[in-house]
Symmetry: C2
Subunit: 810 residues, 2 copies
């Protein structure tokens, strides 16, 4: 169907009708004189073809029935383009003029300041990561040592009780942290993704969240829950970045760039993967990437890694020598000189593992989605319930861990693994980590070795120990037990990452797969390669990241020869998984209330339906005039929640004069930047073109008070609220001259533009608000984030189908 | 200075005056009735504030004195946004309607087709890279074996003559290739960068260029010139990608995405660095990056690498086992289990190497720039001169290589290097590669070993042999000799890459540095680390790439532990180098005639000068009316070279109706989509609103002939030329109705927008032509690529300073 003007017009008319019914602002203003109507009468004879393009007495954004169910007033959009108003231009012109010719000009100072923040972010995030890692390691070791001692004495019941008690206590600490700051729960990756996407969730980057997150994740890892500390580290990096600069950064854009660096540092410290960190940040922020941001993330990652390596020197044997026992590592994947440990034809097997991993990931995501839906209805309604759930899951985990290990029948002698020719230093270390549990001296309990180890160690055991070390049945049991508990755990009220659980269960799965392949053809690779591939497959099936994940895993592995298998398996896992559902982060983002996430690319279906901007826009516009009555401004601020308003020049053909932000309006009213209208009989009182304000007269010249740009924005990010403004009845009749404050270089889009073009424009320019204009530059509607989400576009398409009326071609 | 409206207006007026003097199109049309003037008179009383915003009888783009010196008509811009006209909408609506509900719909078919091309690109590029690599290896080995045989016999003169003759012959073959296709000369990276930036240089992606490039680079490498084959491989990948899809891809955007994949495959095959390839493509194409393109480059790289590995199986000892003797490799940088080979404090030394490398790179770039300038004046004026230059440089190279080796006084016994405890398999291989030259059996000539090896082997010798293998004086001599010849060679008329020469000279420099450091403190790292760092520093100092280069070098090294030193050194080299000049590719791009390269980010100086769109635009606009006389269209096509024209509705307030491309106009005239005007006395003949064309009347309905979208674009990329159109005197009076073909969703920008905003818009939307409008949506100027280059902006700023007049504030 060709979208014609008639079609668009009809749709708009129906929207108009709808909004008239539901609109409460209507009543507010029907008594006022409507300058628009008058003007339209005046020159109707000249403008036959122009349709009424400005609708004063209406609201956009609420759009009748659309999107109302998911609205959450706390969520704000971030804005990444400056309002190019006259005061803005004046501010920067003065700034540059003042510092002209000076060596320490504004730009240099700002750059150095930014780099100082970046370096501080890197250093601090590295310290936090080190502290979390070390303390959780110590706690876990203490816990398992205690259990081992009691078991050796034969006191099973008291061992279990003590074990249970310790685990529960840690879980409760983690739960308490999330009680204090609910947004500290979960991995934090969805929240950081949202922030980089331009959605400002409340408290996400507060310092309180940082404390809760850091303490909470240490506790939840120590509690033996199947959670990782990698996601929370990324969140922590983002918060550190914001905290370091807090109070000094005065716009969303600069803050976003800093947070991007922080997230990169987070990934870098979590996985010791500096390039992985840069690419993670890039994948999330591709719409605003540029060379200067590349440099900043690069620096931040580098500083973080250097700090981490320096911290690793603490207690190192040879001081100064760089240790590569990273915070997070897959152990040493080095083989004999230049040797490889897989054959070319095994790539086909890897693809099969990737496909299975993608399937496992899809099932995991699906089950977790269902559980989360249930949880949102039943548990998340009160903090107490959430806390109790944590205790229940922790109890479940303790029982499963302890009694499955206890019930495991086989004890394996350590020598059965030992007498292999390839004895490396690393393997000697790992043998010491095998858990005896209830077995004799010199023997080990397979299942307990996986369960009662720190997850990072368990991964290494699976990656490096000889193929006889773990039997297939043990791997299968472990895989099912662990992944089942993990799927329940992700989403409870503790800080919890997803990487380590997926990698651990994936490693078990991969090793199992390797064992099976080896039964068919004993010539294939050593099973540790299969464990690595399996780990990548399951993680890829859940998280569906592309190059960033390849690089992260590659950096953890430390051996370039795995690049091809990893690429292959991650790609297969993603393709297979994507057939069934979205990645887990997206699922969780979509379940958040009021979050309007914009994907990097538009789904092709909208392209195929030939939607245009005029069909997806909110057709009802609240506008302000360049010189406006204070009462009108105040009423609009009080009644409409929008962050931006188009400024329409009703005196001059109704063209779009520019846009103005809610914050600027609030500050202007607070600063009382208004005056009395001049009673001029020639024009009549309704023509508000001249204002008698308190001006200073020097000779012939009148100096009008002008609110400077830095006054307007010094209160960032906490602007005065409309509710706090005191506007008297007398003030209401005053006029405010908005012209110097209006962004008169506003970006707008033609109503006939395709959705694809609109979407690209909105995303790549970093907009918050996009006025839709007709060819006379008159506003016919507005597009905000909520009009562009996949859900909203899908609804528009449905509407279009329903309201379809035959179009007359003549 | 605050840029005010007055300021902009004044500037514009001066431009107007200028253009009136220089304009030749003026004469062409002064006889015609100007509908604009009439309209302006009609409603002047209502539009006092509207300034005359459309200038029919003028041309944009030539801008008076600006940019005229660098104009080259052959260079075209690519356009990445579709013209969203009514026929375009109709085409896609029909396409989707026809295939509704079918499983094999358009999107799926297109995607599969695209992936087929991508896979083919990967496979073919891998084959080409393998062939080039193997053949050049064989040629070089044959050449050196021949020399060695003759030397053993003591026939120095005949050895030299034969050596010289072989080298010269190869150089002449390379020179001949560039004679046939001049654009095949050089590395090709600047050309690919330009293409991805949106500049279509003639013949860059032709299949003839591919043949010349591939044969030429094999010859130039075999000729012993200090050139690498890596740059040409990237160019070859880009051409392969275009060739594979040629004839099937019908728009610039799809072609650009394919070429991006091809470039990634090129890097991947050149360095066996798949991730490096993806990132190289990303750094160049950051303005249009998205997830789907990530997947495509990912796939292309993966396929190329797999093919390469399969090809490596040819002649391998154990079939099926994956060999990691890659095409391009730094050898095996594996150390004892988890051991590192540098200390934390050595990072400071690495920074020093980075700084020195940056300096070396800057000097190299500067010298090469001067030589290139000289070359452009004296040599590049005829093909014969260029060819002779190749012969001269080849002769020089042969003399330097042979006689410096011959004159080298020291012969070292191989055992002096052998008797080290660390004897690895790799080193044994490398010892065999040491060159005896004129020394006794069991001895080797240091300098000859570096000069008479294949450059890749020489790099490995420097990276891996024991520190006693090469004396400092030998390294110093080699470094100066090699880099001096390299600086002369880059830019002569042979296909030549830059990576290997920089890496080789850098490795010598780094090893030298390491030797010196070791004299101060013998505890520092093994000198191979220093060689690696030095290589990275010099390459980084010339090429100034960031993450892509880090990843490429990391993938060549194959050991993750070098990530931090490499990051550090590349960053330092870039910072230090950037103080002095641009990277070498940029230097060469800027020296190309008619190339208007847009950097990823605007230089901050323009921001500080507060330029707005109205100041940088070309203020003289050639426009077309929605319904236009054929004669006018034809004259405009013949007289103006522009690729896009704004369509201005002179009947309706002079608003911007849309834009139309030159190609569409040519096709419309060729298709004779015009008719006779209806002589209607009511409107008079000058109002061209109704056309009597050959319509089909069925009952009440009239079917007008409409040129469909696929007719308009089937001739991509070779559209009919305006010169080939046959327009009779009678045709000239006919009217063409452009309304269905006009892009009526054109992206435009307000004249008050800052340059920064304009630049971001132009780059991120992938535009070729940006109309500048005032608040009534009337065109006041146009911005094309040439208005946004750094040079052009700098000129505008200077103009602004010169023409500065005090502004009255009242």
């Amino acid at each position: 169907m060709v979208p014609t003007k008639q079609g668009i017009l009809k749709k708009e008319v129906s929207f108009k009708r709808l909004s008239k019914l539901t609109n409460n602002i209507n009543e507010l203003k029907t008594t006022k004189a409507n300058p628009l109507r008058r003007r339209n009468k005046k020159d109707r004879q000249q403008q036959k073809s122009t349709r009424q393009s400005v609708f004063r007495n209406a609201s956009y954004g609420s759009h009748g029935h659309k999107k109302s169910s998911k609205k959450n007033v706390n969520v704000q959009s971030l804005t990444y383009v400056a309002d190019e108003s006259d005061v803005w231009r004046a501010h920067w012109a003065i700034e540059h003029y003042m510092l002209r010719g000076e060596f320490w000009n504004h730009g240099k100072f700002k750059t150095i300041q930014a780099y100082y923040w970046i370096v501080m972010t890197g250093v601090m995030q590295a310290c936090i990561a080190y502290a979390v890692n070390m303390s959780s390691k110590v706690f876990i070791e203490k816990k398992f040592d205690m259990v081992a001692e009691l078991l050796e004495e034969g006191a099973i019941i008291s061992a279990f009780l003590k074990f249970y008690f310790v685990q529960l206590s840690f879980a409760m600490i983690a739960g308490a942290c999330v009680w204090i700051e609910p947004i500290a729960g979960g991995s934090g990756i969805p929240e950081v993704k949202c922030y980089l996407n331009g959605i400002d969730l409340p408290n996400v980057l507060d310092i309180r969240t940082l404390f809760c997150k850091v303490i909470g994740v240490t506790a939840s890892v120590s509690a033996g829950l199947p959670v990782g500390k990698e996601g929370p580290m990324i969140h922590s990096g983002a918060i550190v970045a914001k905290t370091v600069a807090s109070g000094n950064v005065k716009n969303d854009r600069q803050l976003r760039d800093l947070v991007t660096c922080g997230a990169a540092a987070g990934v870098c410290t979590a996985f010791s993967a500096p390039i992985g960190g840069i690419l993670f940040a890039l994948e999330e922020g591709a719409s605003y990437w540029g060379p200067s941001l590349t440099w900043r993330t690069f620096t931040c990652s580098m500083v973080a890694l250097t700090t981490l390596m320096s911290l690793n020197q603490i207690g190192a044997q040879a001081f100064g020598r760089v240790g590569f026992d990273k915070l997070f590592s897959f152990g040493n994947f080095t083989f004999k000189e230049g040797g490889s440990n897989f054959s070319l034809y095994e790539l086909v097997i890897f693809v099969a593992i990737g496909a299975t991993g993608g399937l496992i990931g899809a099932i995991f995501n699906n089950v977790n989605e269902s559980i989360t839906h249930w949880r949102m209805e039943k548990v998340n309604i009160s903090k107490k319930r959430r806390f109790i759930e944590v205790c229940v899951v922790s109890t479940l985990m303790s029982f499963v861990m302890f009694f499955s290990s206890l019930a495991w029948p086989n004890c394996k002698p350590i020598w059965s693994v030992l007498d292999q020719e390839k004895t490396t230093e690393q393997n000697e270390d790992l043998w010491e980590k095998l858990i005896q549990f209830r077995c004799e001296e010199g023997e080990y309990n397979e299942l307990a070795s996986l369960i009662f180890s720190e997850p990072g160690d368990a991964i290494k055991l699976l990656f490096h120990l000889d193929k006889h070390a773990f039997s297939s049945i043990c791997l299968l049991t472990f895989f099912f037990l662990y992944i089942s508990v993990a799927v329940v755990t992700y989403g409870i009220a503790v800080p919890s990452g997803l990487f380590v659980p997926s990698l651990l269960s994936g490693a078990a799965f991969g090793r199992l797969f390797g064992n099976m392949v080896q039964k068919i053809n004993p010539n294939v690779a050593f099973s540790n390669t299969y464990a690595l591939i399996g780990a990548a497959a399951v993680l890829g099936g859940m998280a569906r990241m592309t190059i960033s994940l390849t690089i992260i895993l590659l950096e953890c592995t430390g051996n370039e020869q795995f690049v091809l298998p990893l690429m292959l398996v991650l790609m297969t896992a993603r393709i297979v998984g994507s057939v069934y559902n979205d990645d887990l982060y997206h699922i969780h983002i979509h379940m958040k209330k009021g979050v309007e996430f914009l994907d990097a690319e538009l789904k092709s279906i909208t392209r195929h339906h030939g939607l245009v901007a005029g069909q997806i826009m909110g057709p009802n516009v609240i506008f302000i005039r360049p010189v406006e009555e204070v009462g009108v401004v105040y009423d609009i601020l009080m009644s409409a929640k929008h962050s931006n308003f188009p400024v329409v020049d009703t005196e001059d053909r109704n063209v779009l004069y520019g846009t103005i932000g809610r914050n600027a309006l609030c500050v202007l009213l607070q600063q009382r930047a208004f005056g009395n209208p001049v009673e001029d009989s020639h024009f009549g009182p309704s023509r508000p073109n001249s204002i008698r304000s308190n001006y200073l007269q020097v000779g012939e010249r009148k100096y009008h008070p002008l609110v400077q740009w830095d006054v307007l924005f010094k209160s960032y990010p906490r602007y005065p609220d409309a509710k706090d403004l005191r506007i008297t009845e007398e003030d209401r009749k005053c006029l405010v001259d908005l012209r110097p404050y209006v962004n008169n270089a506003a970006i707008s889009i033609q109503e006939t533009s395709s959705v694809e073009r609109t979407y690209t424009m909105y995303r790549s320019m970093g907009l918050r608000f996009l006025p839709v204009v007709n060819k006379y530059n008159q506003v016919v509607g507005t597009i905000t984030r909520s009009d562009l989400t996949a859900d909203s576009l899908a609804e528009t398409m449905l509407d279009k189908g329903k309201k379809h009326e035959p179009i007359n071609i003549d």
